[in-house]
């Protein structure tokens, strides 16, 4: 039985420096435990997406270490992670895939040579589509969906491989308020009912403060890391009431 405090993600003194000496991430240390729902907040350009890239092994830190499930980031450990990108879309805008085919891609990494995805994979995909209330869309082409529906399809793709960690990088950008509320309720349900550890990056400070079990606020460095109720009383949060962008500390 794994320990509830076991680190799912652990970053130690991570620095990401770009040519010209620009530091996107400046000495960040962060530990995310099992079943936590971490809201990673900060303005645009705060380094949130860079941090996500580091956890997913898409980028290497200039300095410091990143560990996933207690080991260095590796293709095998990444198979335990579901990822919902900032822009939930394929590389080719009119990619000819149905919702079911798109969701099944989430199980592709586990497919064995010369074995197509079917049977158990399809059952699992159907189960996830039902959970996200989009089973009726299964045969629709993904390009024909609304923004909110597409977002759900990508969450389904992230969930279909039974991940231990779900990472969502600003998933509500471009969503209208009702879709956003519905989407947040869904994430709360996944964390509470299925026990999935969630890292959600956003600059929707107020909603995420109400939703997450822990808040980290960054702008290059981590300026706050703790309880959402405490963050709600923190000067950064109160400044945000009136000056959402300008009030944020700059790296």
């Amino acid at each position: 039985m794994s320990d509830a405090t076991e680190p799912v993600v652990e970053l130690r003194d991570v620095v990401v420096e770009y040519p010209g000496g620009i530091r996107a991430v400046d000495g960040v240390s962060l530990r995310v435990s099992r079943k936590e729902f971490l809201g990673l907040l900060g303005p645009n350009g705060a380094g949130k997406s860079t941090l996500v890239s580091l956890i997913l092994g898409l980028q290497r830190p200039t300095r410091g270490t990143v560990r996933l499930f207690g080991e260095a980031v590796h293709p095998v450990s990444l198979r335990r992670v579901g990822y919902v990108p900032q822009r939930p879309q394929p590389a080719y805008p009119d990619f000819p895939a149905t919702v079911l085919e798109t969701v099944l891609l989430g199980r592709a990494a586990r497919a064995r040579p010369f074995r197509s995805l079917r049977g158990r994979d399809r059952e699992k995909a159907t189960e996830v589509l039902r959970l996200l209330d989009i089973e009726d869309l299964r045969n629709r082409r993904i390009g024909q969906l609304s923004g909110g529906q597409t977002q759900r399809v990508f969450v389904a793709k992230g969930l279909v491989a039974d991940p231990d960690l779900l990472i969502l990088d600003e998933p509500t950008s471009g969503m209208d308020a009702p879709s956003r509320r519905e989407f947040y309720a869904l994430l709360a349900r996944l964390n509470r009912d299925l026990g999935i550890t969630i890292i959600l990056t956003s600059h929707d400070v107020h909603s995420v403060t109400r939703l997450a079990s822990r808040i980290a606020f960054m702008s290059g460095r981590i300026f706050f890391d703790g309880d959402p109720a405490e963050f709600a009383r923190h000067p950064i949060h109160s400044d945000l009431e009136d000056f959402p962008e300008e009030a944020m500390p700059k790296p």
Binding site: P75, V81, P85, P96, A108, A109, A111, F114
Partner: protein, 278 residues
Amino acid sequence: MSGVDQVLSLLSAAFVQRAFLMGILIALLSSLLSVFIVLKNVSLIGDGLAHTAFGGLSIGYYTGFVPLWTAAVVVVLGSMGITKLNRSAKIASDAAVAVFLTLGLASGILFYQLGRGFGVNLEGLLFGSILLATPDQFVFAAAVLVLTVAALLFSFSKLVYTTFSETQAQAAGIRTGFFDYGLSILAGIAVIVSIPIAGILLIAALLVLPGLTSIQVARSFRQAMVLSPVFGLASVVVGILFSLLLDVAPGATIVLTGLGILTFVIAIKKGIAWSART
């Protein structure tokens, strides 16, 4: 004797039948890869590889090594080079293709002229010729088709995910570089096999048009993979028939047929969308 009668009488000739069989093989081969090439936004890779093949063939003729195998080696190296540059964040994809396209063309012309033409039918190589489809090439094309189908089936879902989004596939733990290089090498070999019928200048179209046409109408990825060979086969068979009828190089008629099918499909699609709105 009318043109149609002439074509019918030609159809009984062994070399024409061989050209059709060879055409069917290259249609299947290129159209299976075409879906991935179009969706990965690397449609120009066929052009780069075909010109690299020209360089390889010329080197083969000039040095006296078997030209087809020399070209195959050069194209595989070229496909790896294009992919390497493509994957580098510092060089744009079209620039990577342009580098190898010009390198292949320049070295092809250089060795062709140094060898004083080697007594080779250059027009046939550039535009395609049904006379170039030899029994050996037919066997080679059949073997490459089997190899390509096996390679696609080996890790089909991972290849589809890499095509869907390389970043998302990588984040899921898929080694996307393997699939990028693999697809590029398969495309290079398909180019070598297709040159006799389609010609160096027009082979790239066979790696684009069937996939592009199927994407217009397919409602799923599975449908796209089925429709692409259907469109590819139609282009090649009808194109070779026109080539016989008009007594012109098959490369041009195959490509124009493929473009005609694409235009027809888009027109039908637009017509359906328009009638649904009104």
